[in-house]
């Protein structure tokens, strides 16, 4: 479509050039036909790299991504796709399910037929779907190609600008002025140039022609923004590198220490605190309800220094960090972050301080600490020895009415001891002890010991108990955890790059939007003055600049009359 690329000024332009690179004369046929139309000043009318006759296959792909129209389509499709994903809850927000079939059942149950369709279409995983990721990849590609195709020619055009422009070029700008110059030509130009310099324009002159320009750097804003976005997108992609990313949950009751899976770190929950707002602090429509003021896990982070992989020994831990973990205040150590996720109010026994009593003469033989987790197997109390021979953390009976534990948690622990010492038969006495101060536990304890007695394993002489277990609703001699805390453990090595990308992008946006590239061309032929001005944004400001400078040089104009669009009507 472009046959003649050689301008009348003698400059040879590349195919696709809209305005002569040298003098600015319109070359595009459509622009030539309509002499009053405003000039297409995008990228200063230079040929974009993508415009070429007889495109090759690779060129076609390149041209596809180089098109702003395509970029806008991509943005709009992504926008609509993203909106679809917000119709129903996404799978990723449902923590406890993992399998496809589980999710399918969930959506069916929660949302009926619509849920089934939504899930079947894959919209329940919109943001992880291949098409959504694909759209983001295409946007990223478009960012690279579009920017590269435009920024280089634009840079070239702006760094070698002609001062004297073609009259058509000047008269078809957005901001124009033309008139007779009654004053002295040179003197007027000097004064005009001075006015523009005062407005921080850089001014070049050439025999009756002038070019003033300011804030050229703002033209690079969009491209810097795009670079930032590309860095951002790449950083986000980097999070999918397994070694760069960790996301897991750890459940800890108070006093518990557990290894953070997949690391050499151990985490301990020293104490969990939950506070509610008092009634006075609440608004009247909240009174009587419980509004959480604070929840916090006092945590310690340990690093394993020895026997870390030895299953026969306990790992040797060194404390490396202590932090009160709250929402908005995570524990951070060498790229590892521990966040407060949620909590559960749940009493769990940790240990009891129990006493062995001789019921016959009413004396205490001795007391000992009994842990619910990994209890010691032997306890020496004066002349007596207690040997732990069986332990059921959550006592119950199986189908064959054998004792068993119903779970791994010490909900109703039962300890079976063999007591040996003076005045006891050789094979010792068997005693089962239930530390839980509940009626059910004590009932079990009584009838089981009774049956041992009938078998002859137990004389009924001994008992194990906690002194004053409950006084005024407070538990004594019992160590327990009142809360279980849920912590989220994260590692994200890509985050710094995400922030760098965001920062670059922000810098680009500010450059591009809060400054505008303004240029003014003047050409004086005889006593005819022709002025043209162009800016990529805010023609209002440019008109004010031009009218101001003209006014100071005794050419009074209303800024509005400089608007070329008005002249069209």
């Amino acid at each position: 479509m472009f046959q003649n690329t050689k301008c009348e000024c003698g400059h040879q332009n590349p195919v696709g050039t809209v305005l002569c690179e040298s003098c600015g004369k319109p070359l595009d046929e459509a622009l030539l036909k309509d002499e009053n139309a405003l000039l297409e000043m995008r990228y200063d009318g230079v040929a974009r790299r993508s415009q070429k006759a007889n495109p090759h296959f690779v060129d076609r792909i390149w041209n596809f991504f180089s098109s702003v129209k395509i970029a806008v389509y991509l943005i709009v499709i992504t926008l609509i796709g993203a909106a679809f994903g917000t119709i129903l809850q996404q799978e990723s927000t449902i923590i406890n399910l993992t399998e496809r079939s589980e999710f399918a059942a969930y959506y069916k149950e929660q949302h009926g037929t619509f849920g089934v369709i939504y899930h079947a279409l894959g919209l329940s995983r919109t943001y992880e779907s291949w098409w959504f990721i694909g759209l983001l990849v295409m946007i990223g590609t478009s960012l690279v190609v579009c920017s590269l195709d435009r920024v280089l020619p634009l840079y070239r055009a702006l760094s070698k600008q002609q001062i004297r422009k073609h009259l058509q070029f000047i008269n078809r700008q957005h901001v124009v002025y033309s008139g007779e110059l009654t004053q002295d030509k040179q003197e007027w130009l000097d004064r005009f140039a001075k006015e523009l310099k005062r407005k921080r324009y850089r001014v070049w002159r050439e025999d009756g022609a002038l070019l003033a320009e300011k804030n050229r750097f703002s033209r690079w804003g969009p491209y810097i923004n795009h670079i930032g976005l590309i860095v951002f997108l790449l950083a986000v992609l980097g999070r999918s590198i397994p070694a760069w990313h960790m996301d897991q949950y750890l459940t800890l009751y108070e006093g518990e220490t557990r290894q953070i899976p997949g690391t050499n770190y151990y985490l301990k929950n020293d104490k969990f605190t939950l506070d509610y707002y008092s009634d006075e602090e609440l608004a009247s429509n909240q009174k009587g309800t419980k509004v959480v003021k604070l929840y916090e896990t006092k945590a310690r982070l340990y690093e394993c220094t020895d026997a870390c992989d030895d299953p026969t020994r306990e790992p040797v831990l060194t404390e490396v960090k202590q932090h009160d973990i709250r929402v908005n205040s995570a524990l951070a150590y060498k790229g590892l972050k521990v966040y407060q996720n949620s909590f559960q109010e749940k009493v769990r026994f940790i240990s009891v301080h129990a006493t062995l009593k001789d019921k016959v003469n009413g004396t205490d033989i001795g007391s000992f600490d009994l842990k619910m987790n990994q209890p010691e197997e032997e306890y020496k109390l004066g002349e007596y020895t207690l040997r732990l021979i069986d332990y059921y953390p959550d006592f119950g009976l199986d189908e064959q009415t054998r004792p068993m534990t119903k779970s791994r948690d010490p909900n109703n622990p039962a300890f079976v001891f063999r007591i040996a010492g003076p005045g006891i038969q050789d094979r010792g006495e068997v005693y089962v002890y239930f530390p839980m101060p509940s009626e059910k536990s004590k009932y079990y304890e009584t009838i089981l010991n009774e049956s041992f007695k009938q078998r002859g394993d137990n004389s009924g002489r001994f008992s194990i108990q906690v002194d004053n277990p409950i006084v005024d609703g407070q538990m004594n001699n019992i160590e327990y955890s009142a809360f279980t805390t849920y912590l989220n453990i994260r590692m994200d090595r890509a985050m710094p790059y995400v922030w760098v990308g965001a920062a670059i992008s922000m810098i680009g946006l500010i450059m591009g939007f809060y400054w505008q590239h303004r240029r003014i061309w003047i050409r004086i032929d005889g006593d005819k003055l022709a002025l043209g001005g162009h800016t990529n944004k805010n023609t209002y400001g440019l008109r004010a600049d031009v009218a101001g400078a003209l006014g100071k040089t005794r050419i009074e104009v209303d800024p509005k009359t400089l608007d070329n669009r008005r002249n069209e009507r």
Binding site: V58, V137, L152, L237, T312, D398, M404
Partner: protein, 177 residues
């Protein structure tokens, strides 16, 4: 720039293809933690009831059954005698059988094992580490691992009868490494 235009285009498009392919591929093949037939079982190092360390590597090249069990799980308890029987029957032909206890107290596991009279190695998982590595969802779960080191079958839940175990062991033994 003009001269390098083609190569630059090719390089950029190639990089896009690579990175984009990786990104989309990632979304297409989301990894599941659940082990299935043909997978290689993850390694472990665990102590048995006598405090002897067993490494997964010790069992390489042998037909191997790994049974995850706990005393709190009735089907696990009910399955145990059958496993012991089959172990007695096949150990002469090189079968290895490991029971991995689901992070219970040693005492609890030990007293149950004594009651049943199990003599195959019982390893003690700690803090559900191994269990998580194997992506367990239900108990018991039994992995039948061929001498090739590949999982031949995963039986999740339920009580395996002796015949069922027998049939599977036969297949295991027949698979040559």
């Amino acid at each position: 720039m003009g001269r390098y235009r083609k190569p630059v285009q090719y390089i950029i498009l190639a990089v896009v293809l690579l990175i984009g392919g990786y990104a989309i591929g990632n979304s297409l093949f989301s990894k599941s933690v659940v082990l299935t037939k043909g997978d290689k079982p993850p390694g472990f190092r665990l102590a048995d009831l006598n405090n002897v360390v067993h490494d997964m590597e010790d069992y390489e090249g042998k037909p191997l059954i790994i049974n995850f069990w706990g005393t709190f799980c009735p089907p696990c308890r009910n399955e145990m005698p059958a496993l012991q029987h089959q172990y007695d029957k096949w150990k002469g032909q090189g079968l290895e059988l490991i029971g991995i206890n689901l992070s219970e107290d040693k005492l609890t596991a030990e007293s149950f094992i004594r009651q049943i009279g199990v003599d195959f190695p019982i390893l003690l998982d700690k803090d559900k580490k191994t269990e998580r590595k194997y992506g367990l969802k239900q108990y018991p779960t039994t992995f039948f691992i061929a001498p090739t080191g590949e999982i031949q079958e995963v039986v999740i839940g339920g009580v395996l009868t002796e015949e069922e175990i027998d049939k599977r062991i036969e297949r295991l033994i027949q698979t040559k490494s």
